[in-house]
């Protein structure tokens, strides 16, 4: 018995010893608050690549957009373009040729010399080269010719007038200018050691922990932030705890539950703006009876979007009808609360010959809370006799069914910067069978004219007319909600405005500690 006690005691002491060794390790060092302009932000994934030809995730986009500059860039909090490397540009009378005048004295990071028109040509040629294997090669299809006029002038000629080219392509990743020498020198390492000409330079990447940017000493803008430390936190709950504990200054939150909790925290500022992502559905007009506008309208009248915004998204979403959102050029509010009217829905169904109800095969995107939304819609539609057969397949199967048009109704989601991308892609008949799997062709004239009109006012009119035709008159589809983009910030973070792809333009932010 005594020996057994000795045995136990030995074990206990071992445990105590182990514990004291662990406990003696240093405690985490907290950066003391000071006037230093160092901002700590969250990224939900580790760095993959910062090579603009290959950037594919918002988590990479948010670093890269602060490192690179393009000829033009998106205005913060909007999708309009403003000058960046090009201080001004001219459009030829036929709307096809753009002449850009580059900023003089714009420098590459880390001593790579001056940014010239040759760099712009190299950048676009590189994306167009199949050997680069860039996913953006298709986006440059409208581009016919690139001419270097002189060191500070470049002319891009398009196959057809296409004003969207600025916002959708040049202000996006394929338009971020790269340096040929840096790409060649660094080879495969370039994506993790990039050279740009934007307001921030890449400093370091600590794998799995953080991506650090420092202010570019040669930036032509007035930038306050000296360092940006992006901490990799994949889990939303952990991110919420980290900002509450003061380990972060800014954190984007993605999940309803953590958003609900963080909203209760009085010490934090919560920024909730409509995001760029819209949940929408479209009908397959090649399938009966969804070719009948009365049936489509009945489904609209059976849909209570307020309830979905309130209950599925805990109020972090705005009911929408238009596929576009208020950030997008040419947006028009088409949402009408009175559209929810089950009695009207039943009446329309009876008129169309479906007094006894009908079946609908629904292909649901397996992401972004669509499954929950689908469950609510199924119940709402059941009230008027529409029996929705909901399938939430694995992503690849969903894609395959979508491409093949194997559905009556498709539940999907879209995030874009440009009106042309929002409505042209899904509802222009030449894009059949993909991505226009709706079989809709009713707005072709308006869409085509809008795409090639350079005059802004006229273009806006045409875009709005096309949207009204598609989403109101013909009701080929309609949006459900526009999910809010929620950012928790310490109160001393000033002038932050999230832009497209959940990214922060650090150039305009400062801290008041």
């Amino acid at each position: 018995m005594r020996r057994e006690k000795k045995f136990l005691a030995l074990l206990a002491w071992t445990a105590v010893g182990l514990w004291s060794v662990l406990g003696a390790l240093p405690l985490p060092s907290h950066a003391a608050p000071s006037g230093e302009q160092v901002i700590r932000s969250r990224t939900d994934d580790d760095l993959i690549t910062l090579d603009p030809a290959h950037v594919g995730k918002p988590s990479d986009h948010m670093h890269a957009m602060n490192i690179y500059s393009g000829l033009v860039r998106l205005k913060a909090g909007s999708t309009g373009v403003e000058p960046d490397l090009a201080t001004r540009w001219e459009v030829s009378p036929d709307g096809r040729a753009y002449t850009f005048y580059l900023r003089r004295g714009a420098k590459w990071h880390k001593g790579y010399g001056e940014v010239t028109a040759k760099d712009v040509k190299y950048t676009l040629d590189r994306i167009r080269d199949p050997a680069t294997k860039s996913r953006f090669r298709g986006l440059l299809q409208p581009l016919q010719k690139i001419e270097v006029v002189d060191d500070h002038t470049i002319r891009l000629t398009l196959k057809d007038p296409y004003p969207s080219f600025l916002g959708a392509v040049l202000a996006f990743r394929p338009g971020w200018i790269v340096n040929e020498r840096a790409i060649k020198e660094k080879g495969a390492k370039y994506g993790q050691d990039p050279i740009g000409s934007g307001p921030f330079m890449f400093e370091k990447w600590v794998r799995g922990s953080e991506v650090v940017l420092v202010r570019n000493p040669n930036t032509w803008e007035k930038v306050h932030i000296q360092r940006v430390v992006n901490k990799v936190i994949r889990n939303d709950t952990v991110a919420k705890l980290a900002i509450e504990r003061g380990d972060l200054d800014v954190a984007t939150l993605l999940e309803g539950a953590s958003i609900q909790e963080v909203k209760k925290n009085q010490k934090l500022n919560i920024l909730a703006t409509p995001g760029y992502a819209t949940h929408f559905l479209h009908f397959n007009l090649r399938k009966k009876p969804f070719d009948d506008v009365r049936v489509r309208r009945a489904i609209l009248h059976a849909t209570d979007r307020e309830a979905i915004a309130k209950h599925v998204f805990f109020g972090n979403a705005t009911p929408r009808h238009n596929l576009m959102n208020p950030h997008v050029f040419g947006y028009e509010e088409l949402y009408n609360k009175a559209d929810y009217d089950p009695a009207k829905a039943r009446k329309l169904l009876a008129e169309a010959g479906f007094a006894g109800g009908l079946d609908a095969d629904v292909n649901v995107m397996p992401a972004a809370q669509w499954p929950q939304v689908a469950a609510v819609l199924q119940e709402q539609w059941r009230q008027v006799g529409i029996r929705a057969k909901i399938s939430v397949p694995e992503r690849a199967i969903y894609d395959r069914k979508w491409r093949a048009g194997q559905f009556d109704i498709l539940f999907t989601r879209i995030t874009r910067v440009d009106p042309d991308q929002y409505i042209h892609q899904y509802f222009f008949s030449k894009n059949q069978p993909f991505p226009n799997t709706s079989g809709y062709a009713g707005a072709d004239g308006l869409l085509l004219k809008g795409r090639h009109t350079v005059d802004e006012a006229k273009r806006k009119e045409l875009i709005q007319a096309a949207a009204r035709k598609i989403f109101v008159e013909d009701l080929a589809g309609f949006a459900i909600v526009n999910v809010n983009y929620v950012v928790a910030m310490q109160p001393y973070v000033k002038n932050n405005a999230p832009t497209f792809q959940d990214s922060f333009p650090w150039r305009q932010v400062w801290l008041e500690k």
């Binding site: 045995f7 985490p28 953006f136 952990v238 705890l241 694995e394 690849a396 894609d399």
Partner: protein, 313 residues
């Protein structure tokens, strides 16, 4: 020696089979990498086909396989679709994080599991035994991701003893260990539970053997009986369990890495599968398989050392 050589050839064969299966199984999974890469661009069919051609996915599968085989023989596992960086260098940059995690998990599993199992057996039906076995049951039942979050909330946020995220400063070994502690603990607890249960039953079985009674009759001390005679003999099933558990442990690293935002093979594998980044998936799976096969080889060879009665001649 002949046994070792036999095992070696069998291992090589298994590896070759695994190589073929990994290549084809990845292509059997539905989904088109090009379409996924373009999915948020709303690209049309032509753009998807162009990208497929750029990535070499338009070639017939057997041709793709031969090309892959030829390159792999030279140590080149291709370029990741997503980053366009060599798969080998992507893996070389992170495999050690998973290795540390798995090793740390194993250390916790053994350090907690073995003593708990011995204690339960030595004090059978006492409160010690019951406490250990209830602990073991909960250890087996708790999912790693839940346990991980729980540990973060209590030990990191409430008590502020450990960091929540990251892998630490590689130039300071203590910092690395300190970042490793929580993930390794949450990963190791399940294994600890398993080891505790097997240790207990194996030990109890041995304690009922005749030679134990003989030892006690000889007047050997209880510590000598349990510590020397019973321990050695109870070890064999425990080694087996530890070997088998390593597969589970490696699988568990994926979830643990995600919860603790650690870089590593698990995170890489999951991200690559979601993106259908074929070369990356193949590369990571091959490394995982290589490790598991090698560990099995070592366990097989270790039997002979642990228990000299076992000889495969």
């Amino acid at each position: 020696m002949r046994y070792a050589i036999q095992r070696f050839w069998a291992t090589l064969l298994t590896l070759a089979a695994a190589f073929v299966i990994v290549f084809f199984i990845v292509h059997l999974v539905p989904g088109d990498p090009a379409a996924i890469m373009l999915s948020d661009l709303g690209a049309d069919r032509k753009a998807v086909e162009d990208l497929r051609r750029d990535l070499g996915l338009d070639q017939p599968l057997p041709k793709q396989f031969l090309r892959y085989l030829g390159r792999a023989a030279a140590g080149d596992l291709g370029l990741s679709y997503r980053s366009q960086r060599p798969v080998v260098s992507e893996i070389a940059g992170i495999y050690h994080y998973t290795l540390y995690l798995a090793a740390g998990g194993m250390v916790f599993a053994v350090l907690i599991g073995l003593p708990a199992g011995f204690l339960s057996a030595a004090y059978r039906n006492s409160w010690v035994d019951r406490a250990c076995m209830v602990g073991a049951l909960s250890g087996i039942s708790m999912p790693v991701f839940w346990l991980g979050i729980l540990l973060i909330i209590v030990l990191s946020f409430q008590l502020r003893l450990f960091p929540t995220i990251g892998v630490g400063d590689p130039s300071r070994p203590l910092d690395v260990l300190w970042h490793l502690a929580l993930p390794a603990l949450s990963l190791g607890l399940r294994g600890a539970a398993l080891i505790a249960r097997v240790t207990r039953s194996s030990f109890l079985e041995i304690l009922g053997q005749d030679y134990i009674r003989t030892g006690r009759m000889k007047g050997l001390s209880e510590a000598a009986v349990k510590g020397r005679h019973a321990f050695r003999n109870a070890l064999l099933p425990i080694v087996t369990v530890i070997g088998l558990d390593l597969g589970q442990l490696l699988g568990g690293t994926t979830v643990t890495e995600i919860v603790f935002s650690r870089p590593g093979m698990g995170t890489l594998l999951i991200e690559s599968v979601l993106a259908r980044d074929y070369p990356m998936v193949q590369g990571t799976m091959l490394v995982y398989l290589l490790v598991i096969i090698l560990v099995n080889l070592v366990v097989d060879l270790a039997y002979g050392l642990v228990d000299p009665r076992i000889r495969y001649e």
